[in-house]
């Protein structure tokens, strides 16, 4: 079956009433839990899992997938309005989305994020239909050395985000990498930096880290400020929508982001995180006004949002076609399939085309639904900002605590939120960028294990990073990036010296 035939066949599956209803239910629920701080797709899907016993496998998977990408739409709302990202991907969205909201342009930021998400998803689907076979084999072509090299490129590219203070940005990445070391070392079984706490054996909880660094820190900093600035004025409907000039700044960043996302999403691991950071870094680099980034650049919302939604779609390729889940959420989806006796793997495309293509088609329908559902909601979300902050923040805190608890039912993780929140507040006082810490945290364990694995496999020969073509390409790209950055700095310095002379 070719991609297009498959997709048309899938459409016939996806529009069956029982599948369609669960698709609607999934995306609505996804949007809702995405907006709630702390509780995300991960917790919701694991709590929904027992219910899926009673559904057909197609309906179950379509519903869970709907929760997954629906929560990304909702997550953008919390990131933009309240600076409460639940995932590293939406942490990127806060970089420019939150400044826009503070300038009273929350509606514009939300509109940009939704339309770019929609755009990213459709490009993701398109790429998937065209390249489903190729994408699946890409994942087996990537070895440990290739992954290590790719992630180092991601880190180097992303650390230019804090370009005003490169040392401060890099320090956050490194601190994140160190935090990522906490827990059981896969190679030796040694407990690193756990200080005797069993709860730390699997590392610091990602949701606790994100919520502490962003949510709690932001609440502490804002209680006083928000009361002084008071309630933002009521905005007219046309102010919710971007101006024509702003609208023109959406398509190309979204297209670039979606291309990055489609490619990196198909690689198991953290494709979606890497692609949203890379998309942001790329937009900043090619922009003629890089200084606008971090102060409310439309491109800084459009690129990463398109990237992470495209990645969310292509992430299903390795999950379904290889049985390799890219992240914990995908692992849950695999579990849902296994409940129904469907074993994802190389035979799935042939053995269960209904399921595979039905799911892909449901992405299209679901994303369309999300756009229709969310655009009218923008006004309501924005008016949420008119609720006095003193009413809002205690509720935010409770939801953060419960959301973190829901991940694995651990009170320890709530204590962790308090500690991380204190650290996060201190970091924000000293103007460090917590998004970079989160990036380092997510990528650190992957870089370390892949680096060590690559050297084990090559029996200690470091040349492996240049002998494997994929790894070599990434190494060269990383080298070029560093040289470019150095040349720029030297030029700027010499120009400064000339002007001084």
């Amino acid at each position: 079956m070719s991609g297009w035939e498959g997709f048309l066949h899938g459409l016939s599956v996806a529009v069956q009433p029982d599948v369609l209803i669960y698709c609607v239910f999934g995306v609505v629920l996804g949007t809702f839990v995405g907006v709630l701080p702390g509780i995300g797709a991960m917790a919701t899907i694991s709590l929904l899992l027992p219910i899926t016993y009673y559904l057909s496998p197609e309906a179950a998977l379509v519903m869970l997938a709907g929760v997954y990408y629906g929560s990304q739409y909702g997550g953008a709302v919390a990131s933009i309005l309240l600076r409460l990202p639940g995932t590293p991907q939406s942490a990127v969205t806060t970089l420019d989305g939150y400044p826009l909201a503070q300038q009273g342009r929350a509606g514009v930021a939300l509109f940009t994020s939704m339309i770019s998400s929609f755009f990213g998803s459709f490009i993701g689907i398109f790429v998937l239909i065209l390249l489903s076979g190729v994408l699946a084999s890409a994942a087996t072509a990537f070895g440990a050395a290739d992954y290590a090299a790719m992630m180092i490129l991601g880190l180097v590219a992303a650390s230019t985000i804090g370009a005003k203070h490169p040392a401060k940005g890099l320090a956050m990445v490194v601190l994140g990498l160190i935090l990522g070391c906490v827990g059981t070392d896969v190679n030796s079984g040694v407990q690193r930096f756990t200080f005797g706490q069993t709860e730390l054996m699997d590392g610091v909880n990602l949701v606790a880290l994100a919520m502490g660094l962003f949510g709690v820190a932001e609440v502490i900093a804002n209680i006083h400020v928000a009361e002084r600035t008071g309630v933002p004025p009521r905005v007219a409907l046309r102010d919710l929508l971007p101006s024509r000039a702003e609208l023109r700044r959406i398509p190309f960043p979204a297209l670039r982001g979606a291309s990055l996302g489609s490619f990196f999403g198909a690689l198991p691991g953290t494709g979606s995180t890497i692609s949203s950071f890379l998309a942001y870094a790329a937009e900043r680099r090619i922009s003629r006004h890089p200084e606008r980034f971090g102060n409310g650049a439309i491109e800084g919302v459009a690129g990463p949002e398109a990237a992470n939604n495209a990645a969310a779609i292509s992430a299903f390729v390795p999950t379904l076609a290889l049985g390799i889940p890219g992240d914990p959420i995908m692992a849950l989806m695999l579990g849902a399939l296994v409940i129904h006796g469907v074993q994802p793997g190389p035979l799935m495309l042939e053995a269960r085309p209904d399921m595979f293509w039905g799911l892909i088609a449901s992405f299209g329908i679901g994303n369309l639904l999300l756009l229709i559902l969310n655009l009218p909601l923008i006004g309501i979300w924005v008016s949420m900002l008119r609720i006095p902050f003193r009413w809002l923040y205690p509720a935010i805190l409770i939801f953060v605590c419960l959301g973190v608890y829901s991940v694995r039912g651990s009170s320890f993780d709530i204590f962790a939120v308090a500690l991380i929140g204190a650290i996060g507040y201190a970091l924000s006082l000293a103007r460090f960028n917590p998004a970079l810490l989160l990036l380092g945290f997510v990528l650190g364990p992957l870089i370390e294990t892949n680096l060590r694995r690559a050297l084990l496999i090559s029996r200690g020969d470091a040349m492996v990073f240049l002998q494997r073509p994929i790894a070599a390409a990434f190494v060269i790209a990383t080298g070029l990036l560093i040289v470019m950055a150095l040349v720029q700095t030297i030029r700027r310095k010499s120009r400064g010296a000339q002007e001084a002379a």
């Binding site: 005797g196 069993t198 409940i339 294990t449």
Partner: protein
């Protein structure tokens, strides 16, 4: 894992014949039961627990709440079961690791298997298969051992981390076959499979259910299975024991058991044991387990106790060997 397979059904029948009256509380169970699982919802141990507890709840006439407390290779689930104050209504299902190798591998374990855990019943076992890429030069176990024996670390194998079933089994195999293989740790079986298909590593031990699809797709081949008898999920795969110089008692299995905190009423344990044995004798349940790669087991609490003790000894020796190497 060396104990010969016992007549589980016989044991089940014996227990249900002499089902003792509950000594303390004739009304048990009078409230919802809690079963802790040390793995996330949707994982293989979680699905297995749900397959067993669903009919169990019907038999007991009380709902059973599965409490997923993932972490530390299943250890947190057991810690949480022991922390719960509600004796006689709190239980857990667990894989073998937390009861056998965890005392060696996990500092601050917080429990003593012999003193704190009351075994109820062995639910299911799973053998492992030795997997290589489809184009691997040798087609049988003897060829593999010959290739691995050419020089130390001539071949590599993947596992899901130090002390994992795959790691320990591979080390037991190397020891018995007299070869030295290079250990490459991964974090999931899917990663190991991909690395074998991509020719990054040479081999790996994994559950038959994880490998069969790739065998059918012509990407992997299986050289042998670690159980003493052929396994329905891996048809035509030769048993490794007694082959190519391996001893006849060579055997390695993962298992899953139902346990209670020590001090649980003996009558409660006996009731649970006979009910679960009856559930495991049901062919529909056996088929659901088999579809996920698990062979239904059963037996008495004492047999589970013995299995824990035996496995602790065998894997302890393998861990000694690993530690001596480094």
């Amino acid at each position: 894992m060396i104990i010969s397979r016992r007549a589980a059904l016989l044991g089940a029948a014996a227990v249900s014949l002499c089902k003792p009256a509950l000594a303390q509380d004739a009304a048990w169970p009078s409230q919802p039961q809690h079963v802790f699982v040390g793995f996330p919802a949707g994982s293989s141990p979680d699905l297995l627990a749900r397959i067993v507890t669903e009919p169990l709840a019907a038999k007991l006439g009380q709902p059973i709440v599965i409490e997923n407390k993932p972490g530390a290779g299943g250890v947190i689930g057991i810690q949480q079961m022991l922390n719960a104050k509600d004796r006689d209504n709190t239980f857990a299902t667990t894989i073998n690791g937390p009861l056998t190798t965890a005392p060696r591998l996990t500092p601050n374990l917080g429990y003593d298997v012999a003193k704190d855990i009351a075994p109820v019943v062995l639910i299911a076992t799973s053998p492992l298969v030795l997997v290589v890429a489809a184009d691997f030069p040798a087609d049988d176990l003897a060829g593999f051992i010959a290739a691995a024996g050419k020089e130390p670390e001539a071949l590599s194998y993947g596992s899901v981390g130090k002390g994992s079933g795959a790691h320990l089994t591979a080390e037991l195999f190397s020891d018995r076959a007299g070869v030295e293989m290079l250990h490459i740790p991964f974090t999931s079986y899917a990663e190991v499979t991909t690395a074998i298909i991509g020719h990054e590593i040479d081999s790996g031990f994994m559950a038959p259910s994880a490998a069969m699809q790739y065998v059918k797709a012509g990407k992997l081949k299986i050289l042998g299975i670690t159980s003493q008898k052929p396994f329905a999920q891996a048809p035509g795969v030769p048993v490794m024991a007694g082959q190519a110089g391996l001893p006849a008692d060579f055997r390695a299995e993962l298992w899953n058991a139902f346990i209670a905190p020590a001090g649980t009423d003996a009558g409660v344990i006996a009731t649970l044991n006979s009910d679960i044995n009856a559930i495991l004798a049901d062919e529909a349940v056996q088929k659901r387990l088999l579809d996920m790669g698990w062979q239904a087991a059963g037996g008495t609490p004492e047999e589970l106790q013995q299995r824990i003790a035996d496995d602790t000894k065998i894997w302890g020796a393998v861990l000694d060997r690993i530690d001596a190497k480094n």
